[in-house]
């Protein structure tokens, strides 16, 4: 349409200009010239008609295309309405199986200073420890986890039994290996070589979690792990984060030492299931039972209290009907992101031979407790670059082995957080120990610890 108008307008304008500019030339136009102009006009008219036809065809095509576009849009809208939201594909997230390694590694420098003329130890890098935990998630409800301890000990002290042993030694041990089956939200079945919930220390005491490089003395009178089965879980109380936690288990439990000479001695490690033979007498057969119940009460983030009571009991010497039992009370308190206070009280009882080879008989009662306070200096809000990464730690622990040795230990130290999981720790331990198995030295420990 536009083209035709332009052409017509051009022709008209041409005629008008011709008439205006050359009003007296009409008479001078010859027939030939007139015919030539007439032909030109006819040709232009034909071109206009051709263009009009083309234009009409174009318009029809445009209409058809518009119609098709409308149909396509309708189809898209229909499909979009029916479409279900599809999560972004992520092979890692959706995978049923997953293998992950976590754990920690430590390097420690230890120096011991003898008290009252007794020998200490030369200061040395005494420990290098790599403790990976392998986690295999078979599906949403089943997890297999195993922890190993690959350890290099330096500066081993010779003993009466091994007078020539010293220097360094390397050990590889399995710290735990268990299968977890989450039956439902409240019940999890665990089986294998399990960290025992006698208190919380053995389950939450990995190297990079400890603010003091070594364990409280009283943990030496408890077994850290046990082979058996366990039912555990947590029941939330409301929506505030409170929960009641529980664990009930049966494990082989402490037993007698495997040797004919020492078969009457308690072995917390639990060599069990062996027959009493002339080669490796073992007086233990029946499993022990244990349980822990806890209450976790957070009143807001970084402010919480946890209390727990645990116990375990069983015969370590089935031949003699002698029991080993333990009771543990644990508590942890957090006030603000900066302050933490926690501790455990442990009491154990074990029946001994009569008359005892070591002069003791009847029920021996090793017991003790520890308390540890820590304060992050960032709480002082001094805005100093190095101070803000430091945490002060104090611990007091005591152990009465029930056989005449009493040890009190006061530890003062600190943690410097190089990153969130790389820590430099240092502490000095003052021992006050009396009795036949006294610890006659003070020591300091420096440790670099990394959690991964």
């Amino acid at each position: 349409m536009k083209t035709r108008s332009i052409v017509l307008a051009g022709v008209t304008a041409g005629c008008m200009i011709g008439m205006v500019l050359f009003p007296n030339t009409a008479a001078a136009v010859s027939d030939e010239e007139f015919n030539a102009l007439k032909n030109q006009v006819q040709e232009m008219s034909q071109k206009v008609q051709t263009l009009e036809k083309t234009n009409q065809q174009d318009q029809q095509q445009i209409q058809q295309l518009k119609q098709q576009l409308g149909e396509t849009q309708t189809t898209v809208q229909t499909v979009a309405a029916k479409e279900q939201p599809v999560p972004a594909p992520s092979s890692a997230q959706d995978a049923k199986h997953n293998f992950t390694m976590v754990g920690d590694a430590e390097v420690a420098y230890v120096s011991q200073h003898g008290q009252n003329g007794s020998n200490g130890k030369n200061g040395s890098f005494e420990l290098a420890d790599f403790a990976p935990i392998f986690l295999y998630r078979a599906n949403d409800n089943i997890l297999f986890e195993a922890g190993f301890d690959i350890r290099l000990n330096n500066n081993d002290a010779p003993t009466a039994a091994t007078p020539t042993v010293g220097g360094s030694s390397t050990s590889v041990s399995m710290s735990f290996a268990q299968l977890d089956y989450m039956y439902n939200d409240y019940v999890t079945f665990v089986a294998g070589d399990m960290l025992l919930p006698l208190g919380t220390y053995s389950e939450r005491g990995a190297g990079w979690l400890n603010k003091v490089p070594d364990d409280p003395l009283v943990r030496a009178i408890l077994p850290g792990t046990g082979v058996g089965a366990q039912v555990r879980g947590a029941v939330p109380l409301g929506e505030s984060g409170q929960s009641i936690t529980y664990a009930i288990y049966g494990v082989n439990g402490p037993s007698s030492t495997d040797s004919s000479a020492a078969s009457g001695s308690l072995d917390l490690g639990g060599n069990v299931g062996m027959y009493n033979s002339a080669f490796a007498p073992n007086w233990h057969s029946d499993p022990s039972g244990g349980a822990r119940i806890g209450w976790f009460f957070p009143w807001k983030p970084h402010y919480d209290l946890e209390l727990g009571v645990a116990g375990q009991s069983g015969e370590w010497d089935n031949t003699g009907g002698r029991n080993w039992s333990a009771g543990v009370v644990d508590a942890a308190l957090h006030i603000s992101p900066y302050f933490e206070l926690k501790g455990e009280y442990v009491n154990t009882w074990y029946d001994t031979e009569f008359p005892g080879a070591n002069g003791f008989s009847g029920t021996i009662q090793p017991h003790g407790w520890w308390i540890q306070g820590a304060y992050k200096l960032s709480g002082l809000q001094w805005e100093l670059p190095f101070i803000n990464n430091a945490e002060l730690v104090n611990r007091y622990d005591t152990l009465n082995d029930g056989m005449g040795t009493l040890t009190d230990r006061y530890t003062v130290g600190g943690v410097y957080y190089l990153t969130n999981t790389l820590q430099f720790k240092g502490c000095y331990e003052f021992n006050r120990s009396v009795g036949p198995a006294a610890i006659p030295f003070n020591d300091y420990i420096l440790e670099l610890s990394y959690g991964f």
């Binding site: 998630r137 986890e145 939200d185 970084h302 919480d304 603000s336 933490e340 104090n394 006061y410 006050r432």
Partner: protein, 128 residues
């Protein structure tokens, strides 16, 4: 030595005092909390007069607010930071976090629903 042992309870008491005095009012106060309290204040009509008699005594009692559902981030702070320093979501992939949370649910006896909320929070900003 004896002095050190006697100083222990004093040091602990001093730490508690420092923590209590220096502690922020609410270090991880969720935004929704302040929003809720603000909206509650605004919602109270200005023209309401205090009723008399027994009704006023009833109103003097503190209102029992419905428990606010904790977010994954808050639950993470509550359950995880009490034992170890913060682990960043980007440290593991989404699938690895699922495995780690399964492990921690058993190890630290974290209630299942809370563990799921924590997992969601960690997966949102995970390495993948």
């Amino acid at each position: 030595m004896k002095l050190l042992f006697k100083l222990t309870p004093l040091l602990i008491a001093l730490s508690i005092f420092l923590a209590a005095s220096r502690a922020p009012a609410d270090t991880t106060a969720p935004k929704s909390k302040s929003k809720d309290s603000e909206s509650a204040t605004n919602a109270a009509p200005a023209s309401v007069t205090a009723p008399s008699g027994s009704e006023s005594k009833k109103d003097d009692k503190p209102e029992t607010k419905p428990e606010k559902k904790l977010t994954g981030e808050e639950l993470y702070t509550i359950n995880c930071n009490r034992c170890h320093a913060e682990r960043y979501p980007t440290e593991f992939t989404s699938g690895q976090w699922k495995t780690v949370l399964t492990h921690m649910r058993v190890r630290a006896n974290i209630p299942a629903k809370q563990a799921k909320e924590i997992l969601k929070y960690l997966q949102e900003d995970s390495g993948h």
